[in-house]
């Protein structure tokens, strides 16, 4: 890519314009001294000029006094008595973390009960999504259900239809596994063009947790399921929407599908289906039925509302693909990402998430020049099947425009496609299963933009 192509459109060349008057003074002062790495201190000055919280003061120069006042003047927390234990029986994040919230995308839905909230990927570390920041998708509102009254039924092509209480399910041998859950419509707004500004809204309908529960096959066997003729399983929720989905038998007989009650060491959160939800590794979130009340074994698929009217993928031919379940290999750089501003030139750790509904992530490559040259990123352990994988790569930003991309390859050899490749086959109206490579444009002024290349 030619730099001119960028600067002609979006790049603001001079940093002066986004600084306060004090900031500009600093810029000139630093400039006179011949220092080029002035952006950070200028930015800090600008921030200090307008914002009171000490956390905003990020410059790290040696002050005239001969030392940082944060070091020289001992703070209250170093000289006083702190708070007692159990001020909060179920602890909460620091008060300085209030910006990290799951959020709705304005205008996406008309109601708040059939809606979505997006997980703040740009602020998360590692691969586990804190349960309170797990993305939400409700079809008819969420409930906090009394677990002592919740029942789970197995019926259909079984020897004996069975009913289980939560007590009984939690007595059975359990498994604990890390898996990602991604909405089939994640990145759906971006099929045709850029529509939303940040990683939270482009990719935030994905989360990853350690789930604990009982393999569904165990419960089917307890009911004496006909696994020879029973080729499909219907899962059904116990809430108002009574969500139903046809679950692939191959993932049940392999032992992968399980009914979960635990999430990240605690019980499921109500928004995530307390007290019982289905976990269908690698398959889109709509199949992970919440408030799970029943599964039915049958010899035909069910064509439920969310596999016959929604969650079907429109192709250019006018045909819809039905029963598209697998979330194909995908990745996104979470920082730096859209809507962020880099504080300075110099060293950065580019970090992001990769995943595949077909197994483990084998490698992730990162480009900072819009896809011309790529470097392999470091995959952080653990790398697990059908779970998020964290990747990192070193980067020294020279202050020039850069387009950051990540490209994941999974253990089947499948390589995450570009928008051009995806659209050439599926058009732009599929809504679901957009796993294209994401591009973030880092501008000279440090501000990062969501862009698509064409």
């Amino acid at each position: 890519m030619k730099q001119d192509d960028l600067s002609a459109g979006r790049i603001i060349r001079a940093p002066e314009n986004f600084l306060s008057r004090e900031g500009i003074k600093t810029v000139f002062a630093e400039g006179k001294k011949g220092r080029r790495d002035f952006i950070r201190s200028a930015f800090a000055a600008a921030a200090a000029g307008v914002a009171a919280p000490a956390v905003l003061a990020q410059g790290n120069p040696v002050p005239k006094e001969g030392g940082d006042t944060n070091i020289l003047n001992l703070p209250e927390h170093a000289t006083g008595l702190g708070q007692s234990v159990v001020t909060d029986g179920y602890g909460k994040p620091s008060k300085y973390e209030t910006n990290v919230q799951r959020r709705q995308s304005p205008g996406l839905t008309q109601t708040n009960q059939a809606s979505v909230s997006f997980s703040p990927l740009q602020s998360l570390f590692g691969i586990v999504t804190p349960s309170g920041l797990h993305f939400e998708r409700h079809h008819q509102g969420w409930w906090d259900i009394d677990p002592s009254k919740h029942r789970f039924m197995v019926n259909g092509m079984v020897k004996t239809p069975k009913v289980f209480t939560m007590d009984e399910i939690m007595r059975l041998p359990s498994v604990s596994r890390f898996h990602f859950i991604e909405c089939g419509a994640n990145s759906g707004a971006e099929w045709g063009n850029v529509a939303v500004p940040t990683a939270q809204y482009t990719h935030g309908m994905i989360s990853c947790s350690e789930f604990t529960g009982v393999p569904l096959i165990t419960l089917l066997e307890l009911a004496g399921a006909d696994l020879k003729n029973g080729k499909f399983v219907l899962a059904e929720g116990g809430d108002g929407s009574s969500m139903t989905r046809t679950i692939p038998m191959s993932l049940i007989t392999s032992g992968e599908v399980f009914v979960a009650y635990g999430q990240n060491g605690e019980m499921l959160r109500p928004e995530n289906g307390y007290p019982l939800r289905l976990v269908v590794p690698g398959v889109q979130g709509v199949s992970w039925v919440k408030y799970l009340r029943r599964v039915e074994v049958g010899d035909q698929p069910y064509a439920t509302k969310d596999e016959a009217i929604h969650y079907i993928d429109l192709q250019p031919s006018g045909l819809h693909r039905q029963y598209t379940n697998i979330q194909e290999c995908k990745s996104v750089v979470t920082t730096p990402s859209g809507g962020q501003v880099l504080l300075d030139k110099g060293f950065y750790n580019i970090t992001g998430l990769a995943w595949s509904g077909r197994g483990k992530v084998k490698k992730v490559d990162v480009s900072v020049d819009g896809g011309r040259n790529w470097r392999p990123a470091r995959l952080e352990s653990p790398v697990m099947s059908k779970a998020l994988t964290r990747f990192n790569v070193d980067w020294v930003w020279d202050g020039k425009p850069a387009i950051i991309q990540s490209r994941a390859t999974d253990e089947t050899g499948y390589v995450q496609p570009t928008y051009k490749q995806l659209r050439a086959v599926r058009g732009t109206r599929s809504i679901y299963h957009n796993n294209a490579i994401q591009s973030w444009l880092v501008q000279e002024n440090g501000e990062v933009k969501n862009v698509q290349l064409s």
Binding site: V50, L219, T304, R321, G371, R407
Partner: protein
């Protein structure tokens, strides 16, 4: 002592005679029990494309229209074509589509998609209305009412005539007239397993080129400047510590931040106990399905109502009970069957300004 011993013997005899645990999987004794036929009937309500599970019954287009106008139209519009709350149910299908089983307008990228343009299986429509509609009172329709509403929608879509009565006897014939019945394919690689005889190899292929790769020539799509703040101030959506901050999108790019960037705080309850009680009632009676506390949804936001009808608690209480239309727009508000006392609490709260 002897009574304890007798009890143990009795239990052993029962087990030997095929008592409580005899049916259980030998690996996990004591876990689960047989579901009764009554329990299975209560929950096993799904209807499959071959109409397995369909309950016996019938309903006419005319009856369906009555039910629709009283229970469905306020969200979906009188003719099922409103997109104000949910995507339109009806529209976009033609008599030719009924013949071919393929909706021609699905090829037209300028046309939005309705339920009847997409759905191939009539069982899906029946099943979904039966299990999840009306939205705020799911599973409240009788079987015959579900038939009637389904018949009405089929009539609006030009699938059945005005005088039609849909029943378990003729539903399979109506399936043969569904406008998009031939519009689905399972020829893809995204179903785990062989049940649909899909394809093995994924449809999109990329190669992991590492050096001097062909790239797209330029930035082809980005957010326009006017959308800069459409998702709220991004400065408040990023952590205040670390390698970067969120951009202040309250000012145009390239301008100094206009104000102190404060941490986002969850909305604090400032309306006191009365507001809390009223807001709890709004949720309990599903008012918030159609009215936001501070924004329009289907009906006006409570803040808007408060502005227009300040201090008119009696009027508001009666409007809540009776419903109405024409004051705020074309979509009617149905009469609400909530206790008088609850209506008064809500009305008083609105009349006092609808504080959060």
């Amino acid at each position: 002592m002897s009574s304890f011993r007798n009890a143990v013997i009795a239990a052993a005899v029962m087990a030997a005679a095929g008592g409580t645990f005899a049916q259980a999987d030998s690996r996990f004794p004591g876990i689960g029990r047989a579901a009764t036929p009554k329990e299975v009937a209560a929950w096993d309500i799904d209807v499959r494309p071959d109409f397995k599970g369909l309950p016996k019954g019938s309903g006419s287009v005319a009856k369906g229209q009555d039910i629709w106008e009283s229970k469905c139209a306020h969200c979906h519009g009188v003719f099922g074509d409103s997109g104000e709350v949910f995507s339109p149910v009806v529209g976009g299908t033609t008599a030719e589509d009924v013949k071919t089983g393929r909706v021609a307008k699905l090829k037209d990228s300028t046309v939005g998609r309705t339920t009847f343009m997409k759905v191939a299986t009539l069982s899906t429509v029946f099943d979904y209305i039966n299990r999840a509609m009306p939205w705020t009172a799911p599973k409240s329709l009788s079987t015959d009412e579900v038939y009637a509403v389904t018949a009405f929608l089929l009539n609006l879509s030009g699938v059945v005539p005005d005088d039609f009565t849909l029943s378990d006897k003729n539903i399979a014939d109506v399936q043969k007239r569904m406008p998009n019945r031939n519009g689905m394919t399972t020829q893809h690689a995204m179903w785990p397993g062989k049940e649909f005889n899909g394809v093995k190899v994924p449809d999109v292929k990329n190669v992991a080129c590492m050096k001097d790769c062909a790239t797209e020539p330029s930035v082809g799509s980005f957010l326009p400047d006017f959308a800069r703040n459409a998702h709220g101030n991004l400065a408040e959506q990023n952590r205040m510590i670390g390698p970067q901050r969120g951009a202040d999108t309250t000012v145009p790019e390239g301008k100094a931040p206009a104000k102190v960037v404060e941490s986002a705080k969850p909305a604090a309850a400032s309306g006191g106990a009365d507001a809390k009680a009223a807001i709890a009632l709004l949720t309990k009676h599903s008012c918030v399905a159609c009215h936001g506390v501070d924004k329009k949804i289907v009906g006006p936001g409570f803040n808007e109502v408060a502005k227009k009808h300040a201090d008119k608690a009696d009027y508001l209480a009666s409007k809540i009970k009776s419903g109405g239309s024409g004051v705020w727009g074309p979509i009617p508000m149905p009469a609400q069957a909530l206790p008088e006392a609850d209506a008064r609490v809500i009305a008083a709260w609105i009349a006092a300004g609808a504080a959060k």
